[in-house]
């Protein structure tokens, strides 16, 4: 008999961003139970995590356990005793050959456990084992921990309840509907569960909730992160359109959009040219707004927030950015690294050291000043942007205000780098200063802990240097801090491998030939990628690996000079002549000529010649060859298939 299984963990509102991971955890824990099933699916709303499976057996299959008894030579009493203990007649025993001899055995039938019993025992641990980044207790100290209080539990196998209990809540067949539009208690079965929820204004499927929102967005910009948030913040989402006074459009679009999107969770609406319209789309957690209460309420809230923003804008203008520099002494950058005033001072010096012009110095001087404004106090995610906008109205040069505006860029690998050189110098100085400082005082990221977002900062440095085509000596900028250098090495690898799609061995090979100048590194990687298409490349790479091994085994690190007169055999003379004729030329143009000579050399010549002089001379030839062609990459790092 095959049964459906339904588990619903009814909770108070779970933070939206934790839900998907929790569901995957729940699914994995179920699968791990090893109960046979045909299908399993997980769903969630803010108030319920749900797992449904089909095709579970009512019982696990019966099994047979082999119990070994006394040896065949034992007295009959012993045999009878064993049989009695197993609840069998002596005639039911069998005799089997074991490594120790002939023994009585009994094949005991073990009935499979009822699936219900297995689930009943496993479910509490399975539920409480779901990982959440931050948990709470609610029944008192020592009680169960979960992301939010568990208020009901539905656990049904076929038509039966799977009994278990967590924190005083017993499982049953009673679910719960929408907080205000549905019934508080709903009797459900595996078959009617989803429909019963729907009847009580809960849409279980995230896809369906998403579609309801998207359908109402007509014209609004679909911000996918916001969309996902709203999908998991609602059980019955319904979009509604509202509007705001067009006079607020005088405020920068950046501010308006941030208020709408991040603070109010509204979608902003643009016209065909990408110009902001005085409209928004909010998503309610109810079905309709016949009286317009919700629309008017949201409009009023937005008006208040925009009024606030205008108030901040006006009041911030009373003190120019340039006059706020001293105030930065009151804003902590990091306890051990001082204030933002200190940081700005260091950044200004660093910009100069990097080769930035006076305008970059000016931008570095001003770029942190917006941290003292009310606007950034209210909208921290707009730091930089606000400074840039203020600098513009306060008459700073275009490249200066744009540099301030852009100096946190890139905030992710997908984000673009600052638009001009000025901004790039400031962004580099900001990130490098943070990295140097944090590493100096031991704030080094470990595992997933990276509170100062140093990985992102280093990644940003790499991206700006490469994509900004800035040939700066990165290694010289890292204060000879071995940990920081190793940290950057990882980020450079990551960038070229995962972001740019180079093969890992290409990256290793190119970096082995140096990685301080990332622009040069990129050019060499492009060359390796081109070379890889050549049929001569992999065999030559294999030869270089062989050369490296020979040199390493011989402990050879280069002799004083190479002597042509010590060359004995023809293939080595040929290799030497070839090497002489192509030295200094790009490897692309010589690879097809070089490869046969190297192959021939290894075919015919024994490096370990009996005469030490000759041997050392041959090693020297290989050494120089390797050095010559390792300027692009250490080809011995290439992983060859042959």
């Amino acid at each position: 008999m095959s049964l459906p299984f339904l588990l619903e963990i009814g909770t108070e509102e779970i933070p939206d961003w934790m839900i998907l991971n929790a569901l995957e955890d729940l699914r994995a824990a179920f699968v791990k139970l090893g109960i046979q099933h045909e299908s399993v699916q997980v769903n969630a709303t803010p108030r319920r995590l749900v797992l449904r499976a089909s095709g579970l057996p009512a019982r696990q299959a019966d099994s047979v356990e082999r119990v070994q008894g006394p040896s065949q030579s034992s007295p009959p009493q012993a045999v009878e005793g064993f049989a009695r203990k197993q609840g069998a007649a002596p005639g039911e025993l069998a005799v089997e050959t074991t490594p120790k001899g002939e023994y009585y055995v009994f094949h005991k039938k073990v009935a499979g456990r009822a699936t219900k019993d297995i689930l009943s025992a496993a479910l509490p641990g399975m539920v409480l084992g779901i990982y959440f980044p931050k948990t709470m207790y609610w029944t008192g100290k020592g009680g169960p921990r979960f992301i939010r209080p568990i208020r009901w539990l539905v656990a049904l196998l076929g038509g039966e309840t799977v009994p278990f209990e967590i924190g005083g809540v017993r499982s049953g067949n009673l679910s719960s509907g929408h907080r205000r539009l549905g019934a508080k208690e709903i009797a459900v079965t595996c078959a009617d569960y989803e429909q019963k929820l729907r009847d009580n204004c809960v849409i279980l499927s995230a896809d369906e909730r998403r579609q309801r929102i998207v359908d109402g967005l007509a014209g609004a910009k679909v911000d996918s992160a916001l969309l996902e948030t709203l999908v998991y913040l609602t059980e019955y989402p319904t979009p509604i359109e509202g509007s705001f006074d067009p006079q607020f459009l005088e405020l920068p679009a950046e501010v308006l959009v941030t208020v709408m999107r991040h603070h109010q969770r509204y979608f902003s609406v643009e016209d065909a040219d990408g110009k902001l319209l005085p409209k928004f789309i909010a998503v309610m957690n109810i079905g309709s707004d016949p009286e317009g209460f919700v629309r008017r309420g949201n409009e009023r809230v937005l008006r208040a927030r925009f009024t606030d923003a205008r108030f901040f804008w006006d009041s911030d203008q009373k003190k120019k950015l340039v006059d706020r520099r001293a105030d930065l002494a009151h804003v902590t950058f990091q306890a051990k690294l001082g204030s933002y005033k200190d940081k700005a001072k260091r950044m200004k010096l660093l910009v100069k050291e990097l080769g930035g012009k006076a305008s970059a110095g000016r931008a570095a001087d001003l770029c942190k000043c917006d941290l003292t404004t009310e606007m950034v106090g209210e909208f921290p995610e707009l730091q930089g942007v606000v400074g840039g906008l203020y600098a513009r109205v306060q008459g700073e040069r275009e490249d200066v205000w744009q540099a301030i505006y852009d100096h946190y860029k890139p905030v992710s690998m997908e984000d673009s780098i600052p638009r001009h050189a000025t901004g790039r110098y400031v962004a580099l100085a900001d990130k490098l200063d943070t990295l140097r400082g944090c590493f100096r005082v031991g704030l080094i990221p470990t595992g997933s802990r990276d509170p100062f977002a140093l990985r992102r900062a280093a990644q940003g440095v790499v991206k700006i240097l490469v994509e900004g085509n800035m040939e700066l000596p990165l290694l010289d900028l890292l204060e000879a801090n071995a940990e920081l250098i190793a940290f950057f090495q990882e980020r450079v690898k990551f960038y070229f491998k995962d972001v740019r799609g180079f093969q890992y061995d290409e990256v290793n090979a190119a970096m082995a030939a140096g990685w301080s100048n990332l622009v040069d590194l990129e050019a060499r990687l492009e060359r390796i990628r081109g070379l890889r298409a050549s049929p001569d490349f992999e065999p030559l790479a294999a030869s270089f690996k062989r050369i490296r091994n020979i040199l390493e085994q011989a402990g050879f690190e280069g002799a004083a000079s190479f002597r042509e007169d010590l060359l004995e055999e023809e293939p080595e003379k040929e290799l030497y002549r070839e090497y002489q004729s192509i030295a200094g030329q790009p490897i692309e143009s010589v690879i097809s000529r070089l490869r046969p000579k190297v192959d021939l050399f290894f075919d015919k010549v024994l490096v370990n010649a009996p005469r030490d002089e000759v041997r050392r001379n041959r090693l020297q030839l290989l050494f120089e060859l390797r050095r010559e062609f390792s300027k692009v990459a250490d080809f011995s790092e290439i992983v060859t298939t042959s």
Binding site: P46, K141, R180, F293, V294, G297, N298, T307, D308
Partner: protein, 299 residues
């Protein structure tokens, strides 16, 4: 239209019917209802408690001279503590909104993650901000720790922002235009507070005097805490509540100095630590003081 005070009456009535003691505001200046002994100390220990009160809450840095329609130096919180939290606490909370005239079938309610933390009190909790048609009207917190101590019972704390809630219900764009009582607006009652405290906090507070006061209150609190002996048979008499008043004074002075721009980066962390040390000290002493009382009752 319901006046500001009518809404307060209704909330008091609602929570009184659900077993809450209705307290009056605490008479030492605080930054939030949480800091009142009725919350900070009562959530500690194994004894159930239920209380509700309005608490004027002072945030010197938030003052705007009465110019900003939504920001106040002193706003009014309606604070509810239910210890332990009942299983239907959210239903009860939603019921309170209905009691003040909000039809939740016609309005949009969302619970958005917002965990509360007060480093100066060694306190934190898990919860939400409650959004009504896009407006944050309440903070809802399950306390987990207070004074650095894991709580025996998990209290639910509900904090309603009364000015916002009233402005919402009265459909006013400015806090100052809401009707406090018939014939009196909020501005009539509170505008001068906002203006004068802003002037004092931002311009005229004497930094040296405030520091001196801070040191004096800190000295008194510290002196008292040092002399508390958890083994003394007389410890029930020990004035922990007055000690805590001095801690609250320090906290408010710190906030005022901060608004005045008088606390440097290097000082800041240190001052927070000083306040925290006192607050945690009082909380820990309070737990031991109660334990004995409980044991005596048991005998």
């Amino acid at each position: 239209m319901q006046s500001f005070q009518k809404i307060i009456f209704k909330l008091k009535q609602y929570w009184a019917e659900r077993g809450c003691i209705i307290q009056e505001p605490y008479d030492v200046e605080v930054g939030a209802g949480t800091m009142c002994p009725e919350t900070f100390l009562r959530v500690l220990g194994p004894d159930p408690y239920r209380v509700a009160y309005v608490q004027p809450s002072r945030r010197p840095a938030d003052g705007r001279y009465g110019d900003n329609p939504n920001r106040l130096f002193k706003h009014s919180q309606f604070q509810v503590i239910l210890k332990p939290s009942p299983g239907d606490i959210i239903e009860q909370y939603l019921g309170s909104l209905e009691a003040i005239g909000i039809d939740l079938k016609q309005h949009d309610i969302k619970f958005e993650e917002d965990n509360w933390e007060a480093p100066t009190l060694g306190a934190w909790g898990i919860g939400w901000q409650v959004m009504l048609d896009g407006l944050e009207i309440s903070q809802f917190t399950y306390f987990q720790q207070c004074g650095g101590i894991d709580l025996d019972l998990v209290p639910a704390e509900l904090t309603y922002g009364l000015e916002r809630l009233t402005a919402f219900l009265q459909m006013r764009d400015s806090v100052y235009d809401i009707e406090w009582a018939k014939g009196f607006t909020y501005g009539d009652v509170r505008y001068r507070d906002e203006l004068q405290y802003s002037v004092y906090n931002f311009e005229m507070a004497d930094i040296k005097t405030l520091w001196k006061l801070f040191d004096l209150h800190e000295g008194e609190a510290t002196r008292l805490l040092k002399s508390y002996d958890p083994k003394s048979p007389d410890k029930k008499r020990f004035p922990l509540l007055p000690t805590y008043d001095h801690v609250l004074k320090c906290s408010n002075l710190f906030n005022t100095l901060d608004a005045r721009g008088a606390i440097s980066v290097t000082e800041r962390v240190g001052v927070i630590q000083r306040v925290r040390k006192m607050a945690v000290g009082v909380a820990q002493a309070w737990v031991t003081q109660m334990q004995d009382v409980a044991a005596e009752v048991a005998e």
